[in-house]
């Protein structure tokens, strides 16, 4: 299957590059529908990557790359469940999203996140699975989870720790502040900053460059330099589930869902 149109995303192979495009209003929040489409992609990736040398993930939404987990769906789904059911459901969801993220992270082709606008929470975590992040100058990165009484749950901390210094990880995690593309490039998170509206074009141009290299060599280099922190990723799920059932989290989620605050995305 060289092309797919799901409810929340689509993909096609163009000149040896797999282009995965997120497109769910308002800003690609990741809930059960997106997860199901991602799982289809992870399954298809096995065969797609045989004929491709690169993967580009981008967003068709003008608001940004991805605003993270669908907190409204998460809140609604957990409202009527008891403690045990909540944790079981959450554990299952996180296990499934981690499988998708790990599949993208470990893909033997070079992967590029072409991001713009809001790249928050789970969206930031998705970008971190990629080998390169190419950011529109208007992109902003943020882990806002602490304001809900949670930690990032889609693999964000282990992957950020793998890629950056611990002080930067603590700054982003513990303050919950968002940083712009220039700052993200200065700390080593972003490889290239594009002019406004140009991230995807730059990513495609980079994919053309990748095509010049021997695929097996590029894959070996990636395996050598980019270990997947499986132990920390598993631990992250456990910590997230432990934190999730505390009253502070339910209160934080309710506040977010019911918020009339003009800045609900800000910490």
């Amino acid at each position: 299957m060289n092309g797919f149109q799901g409810k929340t995303l689509s993909w096609q192979v163009v000149d040896g590059t797999i282009e995965l495009v997120l497109d769910r209003a308002p800003c690609n929040e990741i809930g059960s529908a997106t997860l199901a489409d991602f799982e289809s992609f992870a399954t298809a990736l096995e065969s797609l990557q045989k004929d491709a040398h690169a993967l580009i993930i981008s967003s068709a939404r003008p608001e940004g790359f991805c605003a993270g987990a669908d907190l409204r769906e998460l809140y609604r789904r957990s409202e009527d469940l008891d403690h045990r059911e909540r944790v079981a459901g959450l554990h299952d969801f996180l296990g499934r999203i981690h499988m998708v993220m790990n599949a993208i992270d470990a893909a033997p082709i070079t992967t590029i996140a072409a991001v713009h606008g809001v790249t928050f929470g789970g969206g930031f975590e998705l970008a971190l699975t990629c080998d390169l992040i190419i950011a529109d100058k208007m992109a902003r990165f943020c882990f806002p989870e602490l304001r809900l009484g949670l930690i990032p749950g889609f693999g964000g901390i282990p992957r950020l720790k793998r890629d950056l210094g611990n002080a930067v990880v603590r700054d982003l995690l513990l303050t919950g502040r968002s940083i712009n593309a220039t700052k993200a490039q200065s700390v080593g998170l972003v490889s290239q900053v594009a002019a406004e509206g140009d991230a995807l074009r730059l990513a495609r141009s980079t994919a053309v460059q990748l095509r010049k290299f021997d695929r097996a060599t590029a894959s070996a280099a990636k395996r050598f330099i980019k270990p997947i922190p499986y132990d920390m990723l598993r631990r992250e799920i456990e910590i997230f589930c432990d934190l999730f059932t505390r009253p502070a989290v339910e209160a934080g989620l309710r506040k977010f869902v019911e918020s009339k605050d003009p800045l609900p995305y800000l910490p």
């Binding site: 606008g117 502040r177 800045l263």
Partner: protein
Amino acid sequence: MSTLQNTTEQILQLAAAHFKVPRETLTADDDFFKKLGINSLQALDLLTRLEQHFSIELPDYELQGVSDFRTLAERIQSRL
């Protein structure tokens, strides 16, 4: 070094140009959410443009509770 008045004026000009409202309709004491009719995502966009314009980092938590141009200018001025 830029004065607070100058910083405020630059913010007003930038906001007017980006959100396509006449500069003369904006004042330092205006609530920028109401006056510009912007939501939280557009406020983030404005924050990024201000960071680029003034070559500063402005943590978004410093903008909590800030809705008027004058206070925004003071926050920026303290980082120039």
